[in-house]
Amino acid sequence: MGWNIRLKIGLAILLFFVVLAFGVSWLAPVDPSAQGSYLPYLPVSADHLLGTNALGQDIFWFLTESVRNSMILGLTVAACTTLISLAVGLVAGYRGGKTDRFIMLLNDSFIVIPTFPILIVLSSLVRGRAGFPAIVAILIAFGWAWNGRTIRSVALSVREREFINMARFSGCRTARIVVQEIFPYVYAYTVVGFINSILYAINIEAALAIIGLSDVETPTLGSAVYWPNTYSAIMTGNYVWIGAPVVAISLLFLGLFLTSTGYNQYFAERRGHS
């Protein structure tokens, strides 16, 4: 069973960004966030692939650094939320009953409560300082709920399947049953959830940065939009400065989205014929 078109395109886009972030970005000749390294407003050329901005930074190198930081943030948040959602979802789904009802009440609350205003409160309290760890913590605190919900509902339905009883009478205890029997069924959803969490984390941090409430001194995809926005790059006609990060964000999100839905489809097809 081959990869479908979505998965192919999505992985190709992600590969491009991974190479950009973790391969190419180390080659930057100077610290990309240092201001005044070059003359401002240099046009696109071989030396400066996307030109330079009003602050005398190379737009291309700044962008690679931004992509890297955003991806590190996304991967960190996604890894933690995936672990939490797996634990929560499996416990709620497998235990059922009162445990399940309590966890789901908590879970639904975290889905319904809008994350963004809470983050605004947080960032106003720390005033942009000590930004990243606190933001990561809040993103994790609010990020597990969607996946937790999905994993729980899968676990809940698998729990009722006959092969769970079969495993029990083959001598398996609860931990073994969860790992051997239930995990294969939630595995695909976990992968999809992981990718979606990357998107979620990068997205919210970027939103926060764009309105100046994240740690804008650290290059991220959000601060890459914040600076041209603050310096009115639109009015001064420096479209590459604002355009490049906007395109990068859209393309990265498209890649993540295509990979997650493509993988979902791929797995569903495989399940259908295996």
Binding site: R6, L105, L106, D108, S109, F110, I111, V112, I113, P114, T115, F116, P117, I118, I120, V121, L122, S123, S124, L125, V126, R127, A130, L199, N203, I204, A206, A207, I210, I211, L213, V225, N229, I234, M235, Y239, I242, V246, I249, S250, F253, L254, L256, F257, L258, T261
Partner: protein, 332 residues
């Protein structure tokens, strides 16, 4: 499922959301190393050329603590905070002292509610209709085109739509205003037009951002509903195509979409806040932005509390409407 059981469980969720949201809001600043009072005094000392005496500082501290609800034990503070939220009294605004925060919020809330409700309902209905058509006629070429469009716009975040719309329609083709400017005055046809003209871009950004989600969701739901036995049977009964599409496919596929709308309201609201900030639209989002800029904690807590209450209530309303769509909950 029993209707009563359903309603009780939804209401429990509502209370849990309120409780957890408000509690987080209460705990969060108390976990932070920085103290809003010291921060305020610090900034005050910087701004004023005259040095403050120790007595003055102590006075300010006392006043601020009272105003922020930071007096007494943790429990007393918590009860006080809950009272503030449920009486809709968040104390005076600091940046526009002594005008109460609730007045600002009362002025901003209708704008946000109007924009958000219009855009969400619009995106939901249009998205579901397009999705239904694409899912029902999934073999046609148009369905593939629609799906591609959906895939392309779904992952694009709110702020990108906002920025792109600003560049396109406020700079390159300046047909819409860059910032929101509606003259105060009594409601007239003229004013409604003015509001519509000024709200067009933020509304468009919100609709675009919500459209992809609804199109893709409805497309896959109606596609799978079409495979259900009751649709096959209706077809074999000779029921007309249009009737199958609406009364069989749509009526069933819409149910998960209602639930999913309720669950995604928080995300939609977050998106609306940032859109308002980028368009300077005079809603709760902009107010929140101003509160952060001015270090106006009462205003900030007021707006964020109202946001949480509003989202939870809107979710509850959708959940309460749900049984109208699903007879299996209405009639046991």
């Amino acid at each position: 499922m029993n209707l009563l059981k359903y309603l009780v469980s939804r209401f429990a969720t509502y209370l849990a959301v309120l409780f957890i949201g408000i509690t987080i809001l209460f705990i969060l600043p108390r976990l932070m190393p920085s103290d809003p009072i010291e921060q305020y005094i610090g900034s005050l000392a910087q701004e004023s050329s005259v040095a403050l005496t120790a007595e003055q500082v102590a006075d300010i501290r006392k006043v601020l603590a009272e105003m922020y609800g930071l007096e007494g034990s943790m429990f007393e503070q918590y009860v006080g905070f809950l009272r503030r939220v449920f009486t809709f009294d968040f104390g005076p605004s600091l940046s526009a002292f002594p005008k109460p925060v609730s007045e600002f919020i009362a002025a901003a809330l209708p704008w946000t509610a109007g924009l958000l409700a219009t855009a969400t309902v619009f995106a939901w209905i249009i998205g579901n209709l397009i999705g239904l058509t694409a899912g029902y006629f999934h073999h046609s070429r148009w369905a593939a085109v629609i799906e591609t469009v959906g895939v392309l716009i779904y992952p694009v975040p709110y702020y990108v739509f906002a920025i792109v719309l600003i560049i396109l329609f406020a700079f390159l083709m300046p047909v819409f205003p860059l910032t929101f400017t509606v003259m105060p005055g009594p409601l007239s046809l003229e004013k409604v037009k003015d509001i519509a003209y000024n709200s067009a871009l933020p509304a468009a950004a919100l609709v675009l951002a919500g459209l992809g989600y609804n199109i893709l969701g409805m497309k896959s739901l109606s596609y799978s509903a079409k495979e259900e036995d009751y649709v096959t049977y209706a077809r074999l009964k000779g029921v007309r195509d249009r009737e199958i599409m609406y009364r069989y496919v749509f009526r069933n596929a819409i149910l998960p979409q209602v639930t999913s709308l309720a669950l995604s309201l928080g995300t939609i609201f977050s998106g609306a806040l940032i859109t308002e900030m980028l368009f300077s639209y005079p809603g709760v989002g902009l107010l929140m932005r101003r509160a952060v800029g001015d270090g106006d904690y009462n205003l900030l807590y007021g707006t964020v509390s109202v946001t949480i209450v509003a989202v939870a209530t809107a979710t509850l309303v959708i959940d309460l409407i749900y049984p109208l769509f699903d007879p299996r909950i209405r009639h046991r």
